[in-house]
């Protein structure tokens, strides 16, 4: 049993931010994508507290090909942070070599060595005219960077989870996040080759 469990591809993800950013919705969209689109198992634990009034809040998602026995995330493989408090609170739990995604305008990744994937998600959302969609932009970015869920499943889940009438807008936001992810990876690849300019 134990052996099978170890072999099961499994990812633990913590998404943090502050109340009102749609952190929990992002977690739910992620879980739904894994289950409905990619036919895997997934759990979601949301933690509210004083957070619900604008403080730190988090969503803990596990995605696995086998059964999940314990839904709480203790050492995430991936940490997504959309607020400084959230980052500070959870960064210590990150698995060694884990992946960190941040909203670069809201989070200073202090005390962290290794790669951080930054995106100005809130700023892009503001440019699109909807600050509320920062979570969907972040989710698009997340999908490209981590490949934790497939592209198709992710997009379907976004469209199926947002309020009726806002599908197109959210799709656009998701695409923006994806585009940014692709551009960022390309940018790093180019820099690694020493080809920063034109």
């Amino acid at each position: 049993m134990t052996q099978t469990k170890e072999q099961t591809p499994r990812q633990e993800i913590t998404i943090t931010g502050f109340g009102g950013q749609g952190i929990v919705l992002a977690g739910r969209i992620l879980g739904k994508a894994a289950v409905l689109g990619d036919h895997k198992q997934s759990t979601l634990v949301q933690s509210y507290g004083p957070e619900a009034r604008g403080g730190a809040c988090s969503a803990q998602v596990i995605i696995s090909e086998g059964t999940i026995h314990y839904p709480y995330v203790r050492h995430p493989d991936i940490l997504v942070s959309m607020s400084q408090t959230g980052f500070d609170k959870f960064i210590g739990q990150l698995k060694e070599g884990g992946t960190v995604l941040i909203d670069q305008d809201l989070v200073q990744p202090r005390g962290l060595e290794g790669d951080v994937f930054p995106i100005p998600a809130t700023r892009i959302a503001e440019e699109l005219g909807r600050k509320m969609m920062a979570n969907i932009i972040m989710f698009g970015f997340f999908t490209v960077i981590t490949r934790a869920v497939s592209m198709e499943a992710a997009l379907d889940s976004v469209v199926g989870s947002v309020p009726k009438g806002t599908e197109e807008m959210n799709k656009k936001a998701f695409d923006k996040g994806c585009d940014y992810g692709v551009a960022l990876l390309k940018s790093w690849e180019k820099k690694a080759k020493g080809r920063e300019g034109a």
């Binding site: 960022l184 180019k190 920063e196 034109a198």
Partner: protein, 534 residues
């Protein structure tokens, strides 16, 4: 000259012969009844330096297989600088022949002393052999101008088509026209009313039709929406068909060059000069269409020192930056813009079809261009004139704006104060003045300041389609450069190779001289120099 295809013995070589030294040598041959090769058609001229690039090139347009220019040896020129001028003209025209795929060796310059008749004979014989080795020129001359057509009838149609009758005689056009405003005795209202009342044949109208810049400022202001540029375009066509003279800049060199490009058999080498590090891909579904900048640079190399092909190189670098390796069409020809706007619809259509056929054959889905004239011509004039385009045409600014807005791209600080000259084709005719400004906003110059007349209301660079350039064009350019200077900028940013050429031309003014000097740089070049991955 007639079409010599299939007839390999019928060669034509035009021999421009200076009246002084070389002519004496030639005469000695004639006096001794020496046999001069029959292919040689001699044209006696006063000085080799007077044979401009337009004249050196014209025989090729007319189907000549070779051209030789004979002058006096350097130092023996009766006019001082004739031979050195001839050297430059020949050098540039030879470079042009290479790009065109005709080959530089079809044109030679040679100098002779009066007593050197033996050398002259040898040269002519050798040149004939060389030309025969190269074979006949693939250029088939255009048919002679047709018999004058019914200009008045046609004019009525054009007047109706563009609704010139709607003119209320209000004069708003003339109060907006940049030519009228610099003091030229020229008024769009007067042209309109003259033509409506049937005075097409007046010398005044015939000349004014060629002066208009087709800049569209008057159309912008006209309460009756009289589309002056389109009207002028058609009027030039009618006048030309009717056999009346045109007014072309640079002796009609560019129109001549473009007409020559209508030959299907020509093996054009449009991209041979490109730096080796540019990545291209013959399988790509995206093509980059460069336009005539390489020809412009050769033509003006001795004079303005413009480098408009940098725009093409920098565009390609920007595409490569975004991992786009485009297909480049070696047989690319002029889009035909200038022929269309100088009354030669027939040859415009030939170019349009050659380009569209070649592009479609290459299987590309999208065509990118950095030239506002090519952009306008492909998107608007090809379809309007009945040439269907089944690929997408994109201005490079649109593509760049799209790619940059995906993110992770920034710009290095740019240590200049800049202002911007709008290209009329993009900013006014296509109504896209916001597009270059979006990109300018992303740059990090010390300062960006707009000129007094800007965007859709900007003033022309002084000439369009190489027609009707005169001292008023110059006055207009001087006015424009002063506007640019008064913004306190030290860099004039352009987005069209011709704006760069014409404005720089004004800066060569011998009287105003340094007072007008200002650095000019194309927007694509600034983007390419400062863009970087973040």
């Amino acid at each position: 000259m007639k079409n010599g295809h299939g007839d390999t013995t019928d060669f034509s070589i035009i021999f421009f012969l200076c009246s002084w030294g070389p002519h004496a040598a030639f005469q000695a041959l004639q006096d001794s009844a020496t046999q001069i090769p029959s292919e040689i058609k001699m044209v006696r001229i006063p000085c080799s330096g007077r044979i401009s690039k337009a004249l050196l090139f014209k025989p090729f347009e007319m189907g000549a297989d070779g051209v030789a220019l004979a002058g006096c040896e350097t130092g023996t020129c009766r006019y001082g600088t004739g031979t050195s001028t001839a050297e430059k003209n020949v050098e540039h025209t030879r470079a042009m022949l290479n790009l065109l795929g005709l080959g530089e060796n079809r044109l030679h310059l040679k100098t002779f002393m009066p007593e050197d008749s033996e050398g002259l004979l040898q040269f002519l014989g050798g040149f004939c052999d060389e030309i025969k080795d190269m074979g006949k020129s693939p250029v088939v001359p255009s048919p002679e101008a047709k018999a004058p057509s019914e200009g008045v009838e046609l004019t009525k149609e054009v007047v109706a088509a563009h609704d010139i009758y709607a003119c209320q005689d209000c004069g708003k056009c003339s109060s907006a026209c940049p030519l009228t405003l610099v003091g030229k005795p020229f008024s769009p209202r007067a042209i309109a009313s003259n033509i409506i009342s049937g005075n097409v044949d007046s010398a005044e109208v015939k000349k004014d039709v060629w002066s208009c810049l087709a800049c569209g400022l008057c159309y912008d202001r006209c309460p009756s929406a009289v589309n002056f540029p389109e009207f002028i375009k058609d009027m030039r066509h009618i006048l030309k068909e009717g056999g009346s003279r045109d007014y072309l800049a640079h002796g009609g060199f560019f129109q001549s060059l473009m007409r020559t490009m209508t030959q299907k058999e020509l093996r054009v080498n449009h991209w041979d000069w490109l730096p080796a590090d540019i990545e291209q891909d013959t399988e790509s579904k995206t093509m980059f269409f460069g336009g005539c900048a390489p020809y412009f640079d050769i033509f003006f190399s001795g004079f303005l020192g413009v480098r408009t092909s940098d725009i093409l190189v920098d565009s390609l670098r920007l595409l490569n930056f975004f991992d786009i390796s485009p297909l480049l069409l070696q047989s690319e020809r002029c889009c035909g813009h200038d022929l269309l706007w100088s009354g030669d619809k027939e040859n415009f259509l030939k170019l349009a079809r050659l380009n569209v056929d070649a592009i479609q054959e290459s299987g590309v889905e999208e065509l990118i261009t950095a030239c506002p004239e090519c952009y306008r011509t492909f998107t608007h004039d090809y379809p309007t004139e009945g040439v269907k385009v089944n690929f997408k045409v994109t201005h490079i600014f649109d593509l760049l704006e799209d790619e940059i807005s995906k993110g992770a791209v920034g710009f290095k600080p740019f240590d200049r104060r800049m202002t911007f000259q709008d290209p009329c084709r993009l900013s006014r005719l296509e109504n896209r003045s916001e597009l270059p400004r979006k990109l300018i906003d992303r740059l990090k110059p010390v300062e960006f300041r707009e000129m007094q007349d800007r965007a859709g209301g900007a003033i022309c660079c002084g000439n369009s389609a190489w027609t009707g350039c005169d001292s008023y064009s110059k006055a207009l350019q001087v006015k424009r450069i002063r506007q640019a200077q008064s913004t306190g900028s030290d860099l004039l940013v352009t987005a069209c190779p011709k704006c760069q050429i014409h404005l720089q031309c004004a800066m060569e003014d011998p009287f105003l001289g340094e007072e007008l000097e200002m650095d000019i740089m194309d927007l694509t070049s600034i983007l390419a120099k400062t863009i970087n991955w973040e």
